[in-house]
């Protein structure tokens, strides 16, 4: 067992002096307690930068270009100080690609020294043998490598040429450095749902843990959601696969809408946005969750007078989310208690009312609602930090001198086979809606 985190005392003073027995045991179901909010988040997502070396077609934060108003290192440390005071247990640092910030490693060290655990999401670009070794010796930092295909063909269509190779290389370095149990995080799409066993094999190969998460129509995801989100049949297939694997496979509780099928998956099975979790974005804006980057879900900014704590505790938006939520149009559905109406962000960005069914409602009510809403324009994500060199629309682009894994090749912009040779162009009749999209 390694040394404890900093000088954190092993316990705290008891919360109160109520004699045992005056509190009815299990008075309020825990999910109800959480739905009313907490004095501090349990954990949260912190997007450190909008800069990214990739341009994934479904990027929930529409990342690519750094925002000039990004929090400075000093401002980041101030946020970490607040998180420590609030006893936020850990932060999931993402972006964009967080490791492209020059102060990234210092900030991670600062967080762990201040009793805030860190997991960071990365495409792997800066995971070298050296950084992997550094990570392997820290118990308080976890790593999550993004991967959206078990093959380069499937992955790179979404994440850009060379991204599969970059991710696998990072995994090799982490495994080689003795980092057991890092996470491989997959966004489930129509095109990779048939590769679930293969993803599990990749995780096994590197001693990693697989994590599957839900595609939301957020950020650039709004443009590709119709083509990429799993079909109803695939969703069922996914659910059955996850149930069979229990806690072996993580989900970030992102499939709680599938609880309506029957047995709930492991997790809290509720929308944590504004209640137990939230997002801090690169310019200090606080949103209910990273899938809801839109003015409607903006609670405040950490640069305000009361910092992050004031936003969490006093924002009107969060107060509203912490009110008991009625079922609305779903209240008479027998599954409502299980699915709780699904994902707020998924509904919002598909133009559905928040008090109605999730667009992927397992009973099909969402599809019906979408048909009714067809023709109306859903809200657009706030802000777009996408790289300008890509045309508007879902085109994967690799930025920089070319695929890092194949330095000898020119930046042809073509999808690469694992060997590094460019794949032939897709045929015109290819089924994939992204056929023919290659970086230009």
């Amino acid at each position: 067992m390694t040394a404890p985190l900093g000088t954190q005392p092993a316990g705290t003073q008891p919360a109160g002096t109520q004699p045992a027995g005056t509190q009815p045991l299990g008075a309020l179901p825990l999910v109800e307690q959480f739905a009313c909010g907490l004095d501090a988040p349990i954990c949260l997502t912190w997007e450190l930068t909008y800069a990214c070396n990739l341009s994934c077609v479904h990027c929930l934060s529409s990342s690519g270009r750094r925002d000039p108003r990004e929090l400075t290192a000093a401002e980041c440390r101030a946020v970490i100080d607040e998180l420590e005071r609030m006893q936020v247990f850990y932060v999931n640092i993402g972006g964009g690609e967080p490791t492209v910030r020059p102060d990234f490693w210092d900030l991670v060290d600062y967080a762990t020294a201040h009793h805030v655990g860190v997991k960071f999401s990365t495409n792997g670009v800066k995971i070298t043998p050296e950084t992997a070794r550094r990570l392997a010796v820290s118990d308080y930092v976890d790593v999550q490598i993004s991967l959206d295909g078990a093959t380069a063909e499937v992955n790179d269509t979404v994440r850009g040429p060379g991204s599969y190779a970059t991710a696998l290389r990072a995994m090799r370095h982490l495994a080689g450095a003795g980092f057991r149990g890092f996470k491989i995080s997959v966004v489930v799409t129509r095109h990779n749902v048939g590769q679930l066993d293969d993803f599990a094999s990749i995780a096994d190969r590197f001693g990693a843990q697989l994590r599957l998460t839900r595609l939301r129509p957020s950020g650039r995801g709004a443009d590709v959601w119709d083509e990429l989100h799993p079909t109803a049949g695939q969703q069922r297939q996914l659910y059955d696969w996850l149930v069979a694997r229990g806690e072996q496979v993580l989900t970030g509780d992102s499939f709680f809408h599938l609880a309506a099928y029957g047995q709930a998956l492991p997790g809290l099975n509720l929308c944590g946005a504004g209640r137990v979790v939230c997002l801090i974005d690169p310019v200090g804006d606080v949103y209910a969750c990273p899938f809801a980057i839109h003015e409607s879900f903006l609670a405040g900014n950490v640069r305000g007078p009361g910092g992050f704590a004031a936003v969490w505790r006093e924002s009107e938006l969060f107060a509203g989310l912490r009110q008991p939520q009625a079922g609305g149009a779903c209240h008479s559905c027998s599954a409502y208690d299980s699915c709780r109406g699904g994902c707020m962000a998924a509904k919002f960005f598909t133009g559905l009312p928040l008090d109605g069914p999730d667009p992927e409602c397992v009973k099909g009510y969402g599809e019906r609602a979408l048909a009714v809403a067809a023709g109306t324009s859903p809200p657009r994500p706030s802000g777009d930090h996408s790289h300008r060199s890509r045309p508007s629309g879902p085109v994967p682009v690799s930025i920089g001198a070319g695929p890092p894994a194949s330095p000898g090749l020119p930046p042809s912009g073509r999808a690469l086979a694992p060997s590094g040779r460019a794949l032939p162009p897709d045929r015109a009749c290819d089924q994939s809606p992204l056929a023919g999209f290659r970086p230009g």
Binding site: L25, G26, P29, L30, V31, I42, C43, L44, T45, F89, Y90, N92, G94, S121, Q144, S185, R211, T213, G246, E247, L250, T251, G252, D253, S254, F256, A259, A260, Y261, G262, Q263, A264, P266, G267, L268, L270, C271, G272, A273, V276, V277, C278, L279, A288, C289, P290, F291, S334, A335, D337, S338, C343
Partner: protein, 42 residues
């Protein structure tokens, strides 16, 4: 493989799948979940 615990959460008693018989006891006092078990975090 771990099994889902019966809890005092009334929503599960009325859900589509009948929960295990409600135990009036220890499960009321402690519940556990993975830190990855909260929706809204990457």
């Amino acid at each position: 493989m771990s099994e889902r615990a019966a809890t005092a959460d009334i929503t599960e008693a009325t859900g589509p799948q009948a929960a295990e018989p409600e135990l009036a006891g220890p499960d009321l006092l402690v519940e556990e979940v993975s830190i990855d078990g909260m929706c809204g975090v990457y």
